[in-house]
Amino acid sequence: MTSFPMMILPIIIPVIGGALIPFVRFQTRRNRQIYVLAVVVINALITFFAIRTVPDQAYTLVRFSQRLSLGFRIDGLGMVFGGLVALLWPLATIYAFEYMKHEGRETKFFSFYTITFGITLGIAFSANFLTLYLFYELLTLITLPLVIHAMDEKAFYAGKRYLTYMIAGATLIFIGFIFVLNYGETLDFVMGGVFSPETIAEHTEVLRNVFLLTFVGFGVKAALFPFHGWLPIASVAPTTVTALLHAVAVVKAGVFAIMRVTYYSFGATFLQGTWQQKVLMALVLITILYGSGKAYTISHFKRRLAYSTVSQLSYILFGVVLMTPLGFKAALMYLVAHAFMKIVLFYCAGCVIHTTGRSQIELLGGLGPKMPLTFGCFTVAALALMGIPPTSGFTGKYQLFVAVADSGSILAWFGLMIIVLSVLLTAGYIFSIIKIAFLDPYVECGEGICVEPEDPKKMMIVPVLILTAAVLFIGIGARPLLLFLNQVVGLGV
């Protein structure tokens, strides 16, 4: 409170910086790019600085009433999510510069794209439920223009679906918000929950039911079955949007919020072994199987990846609903791992679409040798998705297995078997792409895609290479991260 609240800066800078873009008259495209990159990079640096230096205490920006306030705080969980976002955003921006050239409407795009950065960090650093709710809603609204970027029939349809799902989810979250406000000791996030033992004793069942609703409400963003419908449809958006927003920022914001309410508002111990937990676990497991099964049947490159995201997100949620510290840790590990590998997969798909215009998987035949870097990165990320050591996916899955073994419940073991099944499906849908790209004969171009395929320009491929290196690095050098996560989830060092 005494010093200047550093954590407000990274939220405000991109919002202002992004909002200015349409009003500043840039002479050339290059100037605008430099401006956007400067905002994003500076903001990322400030974020890292804030994470490193700001002490773990709440800062209240506005106080509405005794209990309602707008406050920020950087704690362990926020550090993980905020750091992740700040790490990915500059790279994604560089990729977007090249990619967006053929999509058009760049001014509008970069404006909202930059604002989203700040809003996402707002979610990461929010100190209480109200702030989280506010930024969560803002994220929905601010990403809508990105989803309908193409401005055609399909994009509008996707936008409508997106908006309706999100608002419907938010109503459920609001119920949870009211209950935490009414029954909780405080609206702030406190590890272990905010309900006093007396409250819990008095209203056990109703609180658990409300938790169920809140989880499902946030689950809309995390693409929990049966509310996953918006995600594959929203893949009509440009690849940069699909990759960063729908594989990383938006869906991860949903997962992040679920972690917040589960472990910091309602409290995990209070939910262990209840039928509500079982219902959620069942939902999560259905999503895992459904997503990977559906991905198997789809031949559109990006949509297959979108369904893969549906399935993979529920791996994270599976860790969350174990309701144990180890489960939480596994979920966080997988969250980080998945962010990197999925962004690589999407970006490789983007490279293919950008350079060759091919979006159906059958048309990828023989592209592997012609685009070695793209498909090399794709293969590494695909192996990570399948959980092959030493990639990050393996580390994440291993933590998940450890958490399940630790929880020891029968349903969790059953869930593990479902995960095994899902990994088999994953191997099927992702390996078939690699097989087609590397082993099948080259597909001669049909109408309108007569471009000799080659690796895209440096601006696009370099971020992908860096991210691929990160996929490997997070797998091999996971130790410090895992130790840090131990602290976050309260397992001690």
């Binding site: 799902y165 419908g229 030493p390 393996f394 291993y398 095994v420 990994v423 996971a478």
Partner: protein, 776 residues
């Protein structure tokens, strides 16, 4: 120092692979020499380690950072011995592969993954806990997969599918087992497990964990019944890769089987007997398949399968015999080593045959070896060694295994326990040994005796050499090791001593005199059985005399006895999908109904609201020309525009005429309509459910009957209109565009209204909750 050498061995190949990839862009020759150099360097380091073993002060080496859990390595005699053997195998295969792959595509890729496989394999052999083993095991699986599919032809792709499917299931089951084990015992380090395992051995979960881990390794080793991929994959891979797969990679599976049997379940008779039975079946089935096989590499693959059975038998005996397992342990270890070397020679010879003739079918390669004394000698060394003929290395290990079997029978007799079954196993052991001799004789006769003199010359290359010097050196050196070790048995004894720590072998009570008459007699009996099998079975029943006096080798193995095609494929591709479809349709039906019932209410509510509004409007002005609220609602909540238009027509005059009552009627009608629709829908679904189940079973039986050589059933063609419901409802058999459109619109309305109902649902819940709050 030792740690450094070990780390070099494990991680240098990974680095070298990348360098080789870079070199490959410039020059292929350079890359080949680089790969050879890498093999030599690893080999030298392995020799160093092997010479130093026992001198390491701290046997463990931990790299804590990697993948969170950290990798743990251990250096001991057995591990460095196998590192040595692996490096040797890679060196020899790389010597031949330059020649073998001449002119082939994908060489750069092959060598890249070849070196990665080397590193991963060495990582497995040096691992000291299950995490490390698993870590390298999975890497090895995927890198060797690329080697398997190197030819990219149909056979290779089929093989790749089987290999990958088996490997993924095996790997994940193993991972589950490892985690369960960790949860039960609190450790996954091998040496700690030995001490703590006896406390947990009464828990069923411990057995589940051990079984799961064993399963994963058994897939890789090819132990029955997880061998299904083996006879397909080995022949499909290029010869140097087959040599590596058979010689070394299968031993990684055995490595795991050893850990599970000797570290988790030491002296557990139930476990030992299980492994013993699997080993016996593997041993015999492999030999039987090899007797029938008519493809050079398939014979060798089945032979590998059979020899793995011998090794597993040894593992089981090492487990069963407890403190008296000195002989069994030595036999197992030596047989592993022998098999690695022998298969290296044989697969390289197969490679030589293939690169000269382009075929491996026994009928095509007749007489290839005529006039090639070098080939004849090396083949004889390897063939006789695997058959267990005295003065060759295979004899020593087989004698040890046989001796330990006899010793176990003796112990059982002494303790007054039933031992009859072991007598039968001993007989089976001899019979299988004889069969080994028989199928090797078959190969020898085909290659060196049948065919014409011209066959031997015609196959010579352009420069009149069928093999270059490097390949000759590779095969020659390896082949010379076999008689060398067989004659100087002291060498083998000393080699066996190095592995004792790893195996927890007991002390050797008395040395075995390999050239004692009793043991030599065993060898002679094997030969006699082998000759009998060859002349009475293979010659008489499995060959045909052609018109020109030549023998031909038709494929006599009944294809329906193929475990893969006879059981696994119908099971996995026929039966399970049928059952799965059945179950899924059941779920789908239930889910569909449950999920959609709430949404029926939405159109009803919308119509009711619309009606009410208009009632008010009529009352006020009697005019409803402007947009009705229903349209607004539908617009907002994305109800399909076309549907809305369609509805306004009849409803408009309806409201004008009937007002309030009509609306009630409309409301009810909608309900009834929907109810009828759903009844119809459920009925159709139920019909399909039954049909699917029936279809699945019919298909299963058809497959089974076909496999059993029955008349064969015409598979019933499925005639299912893509969108049946509406066609049927509209009384048409064919599906028209109209039906499709109607169906699409209806589904759109239903799916769009999901979001609307969610909103209503949310608001309703909110109201309820607030009500509850204030009621309290």
């Amino acid at each position: 120092m030792n740690e450094g050498a070990m780390l070099f061995i494990v991680f240098f190949p990974f680095l070298a692979a990348m360098i080789s990839h870079l070199i490959n862009r410039r020059t292929e020759t350079g890359r080949d020499y680089f790969v050879m150099t890498v093999s030599v360097m690893v080999f030298v380091a392995a020799v160093f380690l092997f010479a130093q073993q026992g001198l390491t002060a701290v046997p463990y080496y931990v790299i804590p950072q990697i993948c969170g859990e950290g990798l743990t390595f251990k250096i001991d005699g057995f591990r460095s011995l196998y590192a040595l053997l692996s490096a040797f195998t890679w060196l020899m295969t790389s010597l031949l592969s330059r020649e073998y792959f001449q002119g082939a595509n994908n060489q750069g890729r092959y060598h890249f993954f070849n070196l990665w496989t080397l590193g991963a394999t060495l990582g497995i052999f040096f691992s000291a806990d299950f995490f490390t083993t698993y870590f390298f095991f999975e890497i090895m699986t995927f890198t060797s997969f690329v080697m398997v599919i190197n030819n990219e032809d149909v056979a290779a792709q089929e093989a790749g599918r089987l290999y990958l499917g088996g490997a993924i299931i095996g790997g994940l089951v193993m991972l589950m087992g490892i985690n369960l084990l960790n949860e039960i015992t609190g450790t996954i380090q091998f040496d700690q497990l030995v001490t703590v395992a006896p406390q947990f051995v009464n828990q069923p979960a411990f057995w589940v964990a051990g079984g799961a881990i064993f399963f994963g390794f058994a897939v890789k080793a090819g132990i029955f019944p997880m061998h299904f991929w083996l006879p397909v994959v080995y022949p499909a891979a290029p010869a140097p890769a087959s040599a590596i797969l058979s010689g070394i990679l299968s031993k990684t599976g055995i490595f795991g089987a050893l850990i599970v049997s000797l570290y988790l379940f030491p002296q557990q008779d139930a476990w030992g007997m299980l492994v013993l039975v699997l080993g016996c079946i593997t041993m015999f089935l492999g030999a039987l398949l090899a007797v029938f096989a008519v493809d050079l590499k398939r014979v060798l693959a089945c032979s590998s399968f059979s020899q793995i059975g011998f090794i597993v038998l040894g593992v089981a005996l090492s487990n069963l015999m407890g403190d008296h397992n000195a002989l069994a342990v030595r036999g197992t270890l030596l047989h592993m080593v022998n098999h690695s070397l022998i298969k290296l020679v044989l697969f390289l010879i197969a490679g030589v045959v293939f690169m000269n003739l382009g075929s491996l079918n026994l009928n095509d390669i007749k007489g290839f070896g005529r006039g090639k004394p070098f080939l004849r000698v090396v083949f004889l060394f390897a063939a006789l060694s695997v058959a267990g003929i005295p003065l060759l290395s295979g004899y020593v290990s087989k004698t040890l295994l046989h001796e330990s079997l006899l010793e176990h029978i003796y112990h059982l007799k002494e303790l007054g326990l039933p031992y009859q079954s072991f007598k039968w196993i001993e007989k089976l052991f001899k019979l299988t040994g004889g069969m080994t001799f028989a199928y090797m004789t078959k190969l020898y006769v085909v290659l060196f005796h049948e065919g014409t003199q011209e066959a031997g010359k015609a196959s010579a290359g352009q420069d009149h050499s069928y093999i270059q010097r490097k390949g000759m050196v590779a095969i020659g050196i390896t082949a010379l090791l076999l008689p060398g070790m067989g004659i100087f048995t002291g060498l083998m004894d000393r080699m066996a001593e190095t592995g004792i720590d790893f195996f927890h072998g007991g002390p050797l009570v008395h040395a075995v005199d390999y050239f004692h008459w009793v043991n030599l007699k065993g060898g002679l009996i094997t030969v006699a059985i082998g000759l009998a099998v060859y002349f009475l079975f293979i010659r008489l029943l499995l060959t045909q005399k052609e018109g020109d006096g030549e023998r031909s080798y038709p494929s006599c193995w009944p294809s329906k006895l193929d475990l893969n095609r006879g059981l696994f494929q119908p099971l996995v591709l026929g039966f399970l999908p049928a059952v799965g479809t059945w179950i899924a349709r059941g779920f789908y039906l239930t889910g569909d109904v449950l999920f959609n019932i709430p949404f029926m209410a939405v159109p009803m509510a919308a119509r009711a609201a619309e009606g009410m509004y208009h009632l008010g409007e009529i009352g006020m002005q009697g005019d409803i020309d402007h947009a009705p609220i229903g349209t607004v609602v539908e617009d907002v909540f994305m109800l399909d525009e076309a549907t809305v238009k369609e509805k306004t027509g009849p409803l408009e005059w309806g409201w004008k005429m009937a007002g309030f009552f009509f609306n009630i009627g409309e409301f009810l009608l909608t309900g009834i309509q929907y109810l009828l629709y759903w009844v119809l829908r459920i009925a159709t679904k139920a019909y399909y459910l039954v049909e699917d189940g029936a279809y699945g079973f019919i298909k299963l039986f058809a497959i089974l009957i076909e496999r059993l050589g029955g008349p064969g059933i015409q598979h019933p063609e499925r005639h299912r209109p893509p969108i049946p419901d509406f066609a049927r409802r509209n009384g048409r058999k064919q599906v028209s565009d109209e039906d499709k459109q109607e169906q699409r619109q209806t589904w759109q309305v239903i799916s769009n209204s999901i979001s609307y109902s969610l909103l209503l649902f949310g608001i309703g819940l909110l109201a309820t909750m607030l009500f509850l709050l204030y009621l309290r």
